[in-house]
């Protein structure tokens, strides 16, 4: 099943009045259960492409279909609701809410969906147990290591059972062992739950894990190959 379809995406930024062509004529289709890495040098448009896929940014031209729905026709509130239900985000800087504990950070995404407290607690415990981070439940982000925070961020991203996880340089702030562990975890989630993972990264170990590797250069898709089954 196709979860993302991009048609002729163009993105032009204005950088102090100077137009910057970040994406040029991107056509792309992502299917359910893919483990895709978008690679490329800095400034190639990886993050911009990921933001467009995640409905965080709007293209200058072209159409974005998420689960076969044209998101350009949706209001800001509808896009927020769509992101909440269908998409999960993992950021380079973890971006947990500093005043909440790990458990509360995971619960927060469920609260936004209106899930009642008891069910939130149960589901958060279940996810934490699956990711092996139960002992972090009562800790706040400043009491956790980078790797631990990123695991909690992954838990937050998957807790609402989204169909797509978008991870922007998720290992950039982690040492290689921690990064490898995180990728193991994500691969497991992909395998066990058929979750779609889309990474943007220039980290070798992330690229090596890719099942599908898309290389970007100057906002264009340079190559798109299935590297693993």
């Amino acid at each position: 099943m196709e979860v993302i379809r991009l048609e002729q995406i163009e993105k032009i930024y204005s950088d102090n009045g100077v137009p910057v062509h970040a994406l040029r004529g991107i056509d792309l289709r992502i299917s359910q259960g893919e483990f895709t890495v978008i690679a490329g040098p800095s400034g190639s448009g990886k993050t911009t492409l990921l933001n467009v896929m995640g409905a965080l940014d709007t293209p200058t031209e072209g159409t974005v279909f998420l689960e076969n729905e044209d998101i350009s026709e949706k209001s800001r509130a509808e896009i927020s609701a769509f992101r909440l239900e269908k998409l999960g985000f993992v950021f380079q800087a973890f971006n947990l809410i500093p005043v909440l504990t790990a458990m509360e950070n995971i619960e927060f995404a469920m609260m936004l969906l209106g899930i009642e407290e008891k069910h939130r607690r149960d589901r958060a415990r279940e996810i934490m147990s699956e990711l092996g981070i139960e002992e972090l439940a009562g800790k706040r982000p400043n009491e956790m290591s980078g790797g631990q925070q990123q695991r909690v961020a992954v838990a937050r991203a998957i807790v609402n059972n989204p169909s797509i996880i978008l991870a922007d340089e998720p290992t950039a702030n982690l040492d290689s062992d921690t990064g490898a562990n995180l990728l193991d975890l994500m691969e497991k989630m992909n395998r066990d739950h058929n979750l779609t993972f889309i990474f943007s990264s220039h980290d070798r170990q992330v690229i090596d894990r890719a099942h599908r590797l898309i290389r970007l250069t100057d906002g264009r898709i340079e190559s798109d190959e299935q590297v693993k089954q």
Binding site: R83, N95, E107
Partner: protein, 404 residues
């Protein structure tokens, strides 16, 4: 959970939150104290006017209040007294003769009100007997007069001194009598003390050739809040030949002043509220700017604008509620502590006594003040948070996430 987040966010920057809280607390306490002081002063002015002469209700012959001439007297006193006795809620009443006249001593003279009162009944109505600072109150013997300290100074008489009172008699002639000063009183109003002299009702009636006629009935009711009901009942009990006036009718300037004070307090509320709004706007704006990245993340994971808006508003509301509660407690404590002993404003004594308020002001805590503060301050905090909250909802997640 939003409450938890809001609460913890407030304490992320303790110093900033404490500064804004202290400003709210001080503002609320100051607002309450100013209000309490004004209310206390106004009530004192009113109580003093009621207690020194006005009483709660006065009955005259029709038109007397507008044209205080001796011809507008009450001849059929029995009818009025029967009406009074038929009216519930009336605790005390007394007959009076009130007329403008001249009081002269050997050295000086002064105009003012010559008031004939019933020495045994009048102390239930006014506090002149308690205000005697030299000599004694009227005993009922003929030719006694009680005058205020200021008048005594002007006439240069003391206890036992002789004064001559003169006023228009009923016949149109000048009625006069020789009085002996038996008491000197001093109220909180220097103006009153300068112009009011008291003698017995019999003496005044005789001097003014009134026989048993009186010019005024002064009435005190059980509950000041039921004055209008009692006055209305008296009007029903009496014919149109009489006028029944409550202290609200009799003291229109003071009542207008009370209303003006109320309005002024709203201006004070607005000024303090505006100052607080700027404090809250500043604090909440800083708080939003510090968390731009966090708001970006929240929006990215699907938090709707309404939630973002609510989150900022809740934080401001909590600050407003805490500030109000503590400020209210402090203000109430201060008012209650000073309410019984009073605040000595002797340095402004001259102007305060001229206003009839007294040099010691007893602040008064009213339910209106509490309700005003409880409603206005948290609302003010919410108004102050509107702009920062709207600002937060305008953030674009994609740029907010990258904000450093």
């Amino acid at each position: 959970m939003l409450l938890t987040i809001a609460w913890r966010n407030i304490w992320r920057n303790r110093r900033r939150s404490m500064i804004v809280l202290i400003s709210v607390i001080v503002g609320v306490a100051a607002m309450m104290f100013t209000d309490g002081l004004s209310v206390g002063m106004i009530h004192q002015m009113l109580d003093n006017r009621i207690g020194s002469h006005t009483s709660h209700i006065q009955i005259h012959a029709k038109g007397f209040n507008d044209n205080r001439v001796i011809g507008k007297n009450i001849e059929k006193t029995r009818i009025v007294e029967h009406a009074i006795e038929q009216t519930p809620d009336i605790r005390h009443w007394s007959r009076r003769v009130v007329t403008y006249g001249l009081l002269s001593s050997a050295l000086s003279s002064s105009g003012g009100l010559i008031i004939g009162v019933e020495p045994e009944r009048e102390p239930n109505i006014t506090s002149i007997r308690e205000s005697i600072v030299e000599g004694e109150y009227l005993s009922g013997a003929p030719h006694e007069v009680v005058i205020g300290r200021k008048l005594a100074e002007k006439l240069q008489v003391g206890i036992g001194g002789k004064v001559v009172g003169m006023a228009s008699a009923l016949s149109g002639d000048v009625g006069s009598d020789l009085f002996r000063v038996v008491g000197i009183y001093e109220t909180v109003s220097s103006e009153f003390d300068k112009t009011h002299m008291f003698t017995t009702l019999d003496n005044a009636q005789s001097m003014l050739e009134l026989d048993d006629r009186v010019l005024e009935y002064a009435i005190i009711v059980d509950d000041i809040n039921r004055v209008e009901e009692a006055a209305a009942q008296l009007r029903r009990n009496l014919s149109a030949d009489y006028e029944v006036l409550s202290y609200i009718d009799l003291l229109p300037l003071l009542v207008a002043q009370m209303e003006m004070y109320d309005e002024m307090m709203y201006i004070v509320y607005i000024i303090i509220g505006l100052a607080m709004i700027f404090g809250i706007v500043n604090t909440m704006l800083m708080s939003v700017f510090e968390r731009i990245r966090e708001f970006g993340v929240l929006m990215a994971i699907g938090m709707k604008n309404a939630y973002v808006f609510r989150m900022v508003m809740i934080e401001a509301f909590i600050l407003g509620v805490i500030g109000t509660a503590v400020g209210l407690g402090l203000g109430a404590l201060f008012i209650l502590a000073t309410g019984s002993v009073g605040i000595d404003l002797s340095m402004f004594a001259e102007s305060l006594t001229a206003f009839g308020a007294g040099a010691i002001i007893y602040p008064k805590l009213t339910m209106t003040t509490v309700v005003n503060v409880v409603i206005i301050i948290p609302l003010t905090a919410l108004v102050g948070a509107l702009y920062p909250a709207v600002k937060a909802t305008r953030l674009q997640p994609v740029t907010a996430i990258r904000y450093v």
